[in-house]
């Protein structure tokens, strides 16, 4: 494999997050290196999704800071995160249900749109040109994800597995440098998981995108991730290479259970 894992580009330092007194994350530090696939695992309610939400600014941690390519953010917000090249998918699929596949993915190009409202209303000059350019870009992503046959289908009508793929497509349309995936394989059978793994690996491989991934399926995590961090009750209980984590006794008792 040609990709080279680079320096740390995303670094979380001592992050703590609480909702009305209930602690979701306690003093968590971890880093992500460029081009790696970084997995976050842990039991339900361990704070995995909260972690992603902190990274892209949906939640504001009470303590700690986020360092992105050397820039310190004590307050991240989703817009800033998006500008900085972070995109994500959602655990419960957060597609725009009233739009078709293409339009959903076109929203991913939003930050790159330069024309203003009036130009768009007149469908004139840069507005029209941009629309075509971005459409071409989106079509590339559609080809990559092999969803050509559904490009005009309203997303609400798609089966779950394809919705997950469109969700990924929307995130990819942003051409992110860091991609956060929240349980991309939940509720899938092995065949579909294989497809999804292939996409994740290809994204990582072809575009060099750094990937942070939450996943329950241990087989998937062990096979495709470079490093794994393990959370339990909002604390970090393990961090390292997949094999190290699998051998960590604390991780076994909290999460994996004896049979795995």
């Amino acid at each position: 494999m040609s990709r080279e894992i680079g320096e740390v580009i995303l670094d979380l330092k001592n992050v703590s997050l609480a909702f009305g007194g209930v602690k979701a994350l306690t003093d968590i530090s971890f880093d992500v290196r460029e081009h790696e696939i970084r997995a976050i695992i842990g039991p339900n309610g361990a704070g995995k999704s909260s972690m992603l939400n902190v990274i892209n600014g949906v939640y504001r941690p009470q303590q700690g800071e986020i360092i992105l390519r050397g820039k310190h953010f004590s307050k991240m917000n989703p817009y800033k995160a998006a500008r900085a090249g972070i995109s994500r998918t959602f655990q419960n699929i957060a597609l725009f249900k009233g739009m078709n596949v293409i339009d959903n993915m076109m929203t991913g190009r939003n930050l790159k749109i330069r024309s203003n409202l009036i130009q768009q209303a007149l469908w004139w000059g840069p507005a029209r040109r941009e629309e075509l350019e971005h459409r071409a870009k989106v079509e590339e992503v559609i080809d990559f994800l092999e969803i050509q046959h559904i490009r005009k289908t309203p997303v609400g009508r798609l089966p779950y597995g394809l919705q997950k793929r469109v969700d990924l497509g929307r995130a990819l349309a942003m051409e992110p440098s860091i991609l956060l995936l929240d349980e991309p394989m939940a509720g899938m059978n092995v065949e579909e998981k294989q497809d999804m793994c292939r996409f994740v690996l290809d994204i990582n491989d072809q575009f060099g995108t750094t990937i942070v991934l939450i996943e329950h399926d241990m087989a998937v995590v062990m096979d495709i991730s470079d490093r794994v961090v393990v959370l339990d009750y909002g604390r970090k209980i393990g961090d390292g290479l997949p094999d190290e984590v699998r051998a960590n006794p604390e991780v076994i008792s909290a999460y994996l259970g004896a049979s795995h």
């Binding site: 209930v22 339900n44 089966p159 509720g187 092995v190 087989a219 096979d223 495709i224």
Partner: protein, 270 residues
């Protein structure tokens, strides 16, 4: 399966959503009394729709059974309301758990006893029984359901269904989004309930591995049709099932990293 103890019999049903979208194209299967039957298959295969057709929760989604019959102990049930079905002992635990977010766990459970007419004492007894099966949620009994974890919500949802004293539970994706350990726990409880209480289960599951380990019999759905059926052990031994649903090849489990960029066609489609 002998026909003597068939509890539920579904006969080539067809389901259409919104008058135009055909989702089930003639699905037939049967569930024996006291069995655990699994409906397996990918997303959009029609598992959830099948369960909804049985429990008659389709109408809210603008779907309807347009052909075929569904019989419970030889009684046609397509026209019954969900409430009437619960009174006949058939109850569904929906995908995604659907606990009452603002009610406490205990209130959730008690709400499950709405159709019971056998008095408070009997309900209290069932509540205790549910708590013995799910000790984990007993400790959270007074928390609002919205603030409990996914595993606890799944247990709450199953427990809530048990409060109705059902003979048959339709379980939709019980493992979805749960940590491996919790999935084990949930399935173990399902087996216990089946063996000790004699509750019949019809479950729809993506997690083929888990489902086949606990079920007696399985049906594989694809594109709204049953493409394969058999005893759980037979299915688990089938080469196609192994490859496409369990991720095993003759050389043992294949790493997800080594998945090829092309796929072999399934034999039953060719």
């Amino acid at each position: 399966m002998s026909t003597a103890n068939i509890l539920l019999k579904v006969n080539s049903i067809e389901v259409i959503y919104n008058h135009v979208i055909l989702v089930l194209k003639g699905v037939s299967f049967s569930v024996p009394e006291g069995g655990i039957v699994a409906l397996l298959g990918g997303n959009g295969a029609g598992k959830t729709t099948t369960l909804r057709a049985v429990s008659n929760l389709l109408r809210g989604e603008r779907g309807e059974v347009t052909k075929g019959t569904i019989e419970l102990r030889d009684e046609r049930i397509e026209a019954l309301s969900p409430a009437q079905l619960v009174r006949r002992g058939v109850i569904q635990v929906m995908e995604g758990r659907h606990c009452f977010a603002h009610l406490s766990i205990e209130e959730n459970l008690l709400a499950g006893a709405y159709t019971r007419t056998d008095g408070k004492a009997a309900i209290a007894e069932t509540l205790e029984k549910v708590y013995t099966y799910f000790p984990r949620i007993k400790t959270r009994r007074s928390s609002q359901a919205a603030y409990t974890s996914g595993g606890e919500q799944q247990m709450c949802a199953i427990g809530r269904a048990l409060m109705a004293n059902p003979r048959m539970v339709l379980l939709d994706e019980p493992s979805m989004g749960l940590a491996p350990q919790i999935v084990d726990e949930v399935f173990t409880i399902v087996r216990d309930l089946n063996q000790k209480e004699g509750v019949t289960f019809l479950l729809a599951e993506q997690n083929t591995n888990m489902a086949l380990r606990y079920a007696d019999f399985g049906y594989i759905l694809e594109n709204g049709r049953v493409v394969m059926e058999g005893a759980a052990s037979e299915l688990a031994a089938n080469e196609d099932v192994k490859e496409f649903y369990l991720g095993l090849s003759s050389a043992g489990r294949k790493s997800f990293r080594d998945v090829k960029h092309y796929r072999r066609r399934k034999r039953w489609l060719s």
